[in-house]
Symmetry: C2
Subunit: 457 residues, 2 copies
């Protein structure tokens, strides 16, 4: 995130201003001016407004607007709000709303719904669209098929540029957006793609096979979403064909869908590193939110009890030198922070595939050295703190030595724990944080108190 | 991030396999097979390979490949490696490498270079390209102008579809990729855009003004990158024109550039929340890495000393009941975790503009209630732990009460601190983590020890 400029503030107020317009119209009970405000807004902004206003205002808005509801807001709505909204609409309004959506948007809307709601939406679709959506839903939740749209332009391999232009000029039902035309054999096996910009620049009599780009791998329908998103980002792709097991063209994924996946993944990483359920939304209620966060806090309670057990081993030492109780959180806290730093770098590098078998050893070695170097510097500083505060050089030395030990272990665990989770096929973001801070707490308290017991007593 | 499937592993090994191919050829000193391996690879994968192999292998690779180097790898290279590479290339090789890059890629490459290197790259460009790059560099670092490419297709307002098609078929120097044609007045003021898909589907005699889409706001050249990226994501844009103060068309930003900005911002958020410098790369050395992480650890040291000062207020209490020293980290740790959960949700919601003036009060209220609810539940659990472990109902009660207080404060500070930073125009991710855990440490230790002093002694 970059710093917010004044301009940013203006735009944020613009959205807030739009929401105020909606609320004013609602308060006046003025349906016409409400519809006028909504018609001026982008569907994505309407979706955001619906999420941000109070539930009762939302209900009134839908009462007024329901029949004319713009279906394009649906894919941008939070799951909770979407469910509420579909619930409140008549069958006719649902039909009107989903009629013009692309199949990938419909899949996106219905895939997390419970069965009765899903049925209502599916029943609102035309037969061919319903068939396409149902087919996509048969693929695994995390697969490319869920992301692809069925709407695409395919051209037979024997066509020329002129044939294609004539076809496009006559076809009534073209996709809303497309950037490539896919060249296919009669059995729908895809041969390659032609960018519209190349088509536009080519004479009518050129054969499509002369223009076709075959220098890419089509995406298997079962490929995982994170792989698909990675490929879009890595290879700067704009759209890519999806093929079934037999190599037949079944759909197209466009970069804007990949962008959503990448954003979701980054969000999930951030949340998992912080110990928040990956699915939490700002629109969840108090109970749902508490339920999301509770398990992680339970894990944290157990690990902090583990740390307390370590402290409990040294109660007689602490009774003898109570300054130890004062200083011990410093060692643990520094280790936790240093470990989290290493961990965060490692987790993101694993996700973006910047950290692989090739450079693993080098990165591990770097982290060990960074841990030692930071350990030495903070040992000196902390030693001074101990000396000045309590006037005891030995206490300072114990604090310094414990710091070296814990920052070294922090570097080690910060890199080995995510690598280990990744090797076992687990998401390195998922539980790394709690593992790393458990290690640094336990090691921090133990090093400090054991050294003190050894040296001071 | 989604779970890694076997397929993912296959692909990761594929990259590792490619790198092995490179290393084998290098070890054999076999230039031809090296070039053959590189020619099979996507430039983005070559860039990643260069980053991941050892520095000496990288040098040898460049020695062999330098003169034929594919310039398309440059924009994908890490800053450190890019500097090394340009350093090692002859002027002719640099010229060859940058000749065919789009202007936005050249800007991306040179903007962080030191002056002498920047000069070398700029001198390698043709005059018009150099002028365009220099002009972009005169805009602020964080502005849309740095992201835009100069290469675009503009059409006079009086043209028909046929005029445009004829022009495109004759023009030799079209952009590598374009999805829209921009309709302009004679002074280059942009009127609107026409999607290629609409052009392709329209008869030759239709005027461009009939097809033109004007329903969007062009991006001012000075708009901040995060605003630009937000707009692409929010409005599902694919490309957008950039205009100067006078409304003249100066460039185009495409979604793949916006995607890079969004990824960088998410990365920065993750790193800042973990207290890692926003610019850290896996290719930094030990000293550079330590220097990045040191300041944050210093801040952490100071805040942990603050917490220790709170503990020091209660040394006589701890001397009397040493169990307090054993249990006190539990309260602090739970508060820190709960606060971080709230904070993370708040920071991301601010960045994605899901948290605004409209719903601020509701979210604050929710977090307060979640804090209280979790506080009550964990008070019961922790109270039991205290009771069972030390056989003291009063100790259990103190632990439970301190837990309620600290989880309540954790919720409060987790939401108010990022909101406060945001209000003062600061990045909420930047320092929130350290503020929140400082609050929860200080409040946690104080609540627990003060209650103990009050009740137990």
């Amino acid at each position: 995130m970059t710093d917010f400029t004044n301009e940013t503030d203006d735009r944020a107020y613009e959205i807030v201003g739009q929401i105020e317009g909606i609320l004013d119209a609602l308060n006046l009970g003025d349906r016409d001016s409400l519809v006028a405000v909504l018609e001026e807004m982008h569907p994505a902004d309407i979706a955001d407004s619906l999420e941000q206003i109070e539930p009762d205002a939302r209900l009134r808005l839908l009462e007024y607007w329901g029949a004319d509801l713009d279906g394009r807001i649906l894919p941008d709505l939070d799951e909770v709000i979407l469910g509420e909204l579909i619930q409140g609409l008549s069958n006719d309004a649902v039909k009107e709303a989903v009629r013009n959506l692309e199949t990938d948007d419909v899949v996106d809307i219905v895939e997390d719904m419970d069965e009765p709601q899903q049925e209502r939406v599916l029943n609102a679709l035309d037969d061919p669209d319903r068939a396409a959506v149902v087919q996509s839903l048969q693929y695994p939740e995390d697969s490319a098929a869920r992301l692809m749209q069925r709407e695409l332009v395919a051209a037979p391999v024997q066509w020329s540029v002129g044939d294609l232009i004539d076809y496009l000029r006559e076809a009534g039902d073209l996709p809303e957006r497309f950037y490539h035309v896919y060249v296919v054999e009669p059995n729908m096996r895809q041969v390659g793609k032609v960018a519209l910009s190349r088509l536009m620049a080519s004479p009518r009599d050129v054969s499509l096979t002369e223009l076709v780009d075959t220098n890419y791998d089509p995406i298997p329908a079962t490929r995982s979403l994170s792989e698909v998103a990675y490929a879009f980002k890595q290879y700067h792709m704009v759209s890519a064909p999806v093929v079934d097991d037999a190599g037949r063209l079944v759909g197209v994924i466009t970069i804007d869908d990949a962008l959503d996946v990448l954003e979701d993944e980054a969000d999930e990483d951030i949340r998992r590193l912080a110990g928040v359920g990956g699915e939490e939304s700002l629109n969840d209620g108090v109970v749902a939110t508490t339920r999301q966060r509770f398990p992680w806090l339970v894990v944290n309670l157990l690990t902090s009890i583990l740390a307390s057990l370590v402290i409990a081993m040294f109660t007689s030492t602490i009774e003898a030198v109570v300054a130890l109780a004062v200083l011990m959180p410093i060692v643990a806290s520094m280790g936790g922070n240093a470990g989290t730093q290493t961990l965060t770098i490692a987790v993101r590098a694993l996700v973006t595939k910047d950290l692989t078998e090739t450079n693993k050893r080098r990165v591990i070695w770097r982290e060990i050295n960074v841990g030692l170097l930071n350990g030495l510097m903070f040992a000196a500083i902390a030693g001074l703190v101990g000396l000045i505060w309590f006037g005891s050089p030995i206490l300072g030395a114990v604090l310094g030595l414990a710091m070296i030990g814990n920052l070294f272990v922090a570097g080690l665990s910060g890199i080995f724990i995510p690598l280990g989770l990744d090797r076992f096929g687990l998401d390195p973001a998922l539980a790394s944080g709690v593992f790393v801070t458990t290690v640094t707490d336990v090691v921090g308290f133990f090093c400090f108190l054991a050294l003190a017991a050894l040296i001071l007593l």
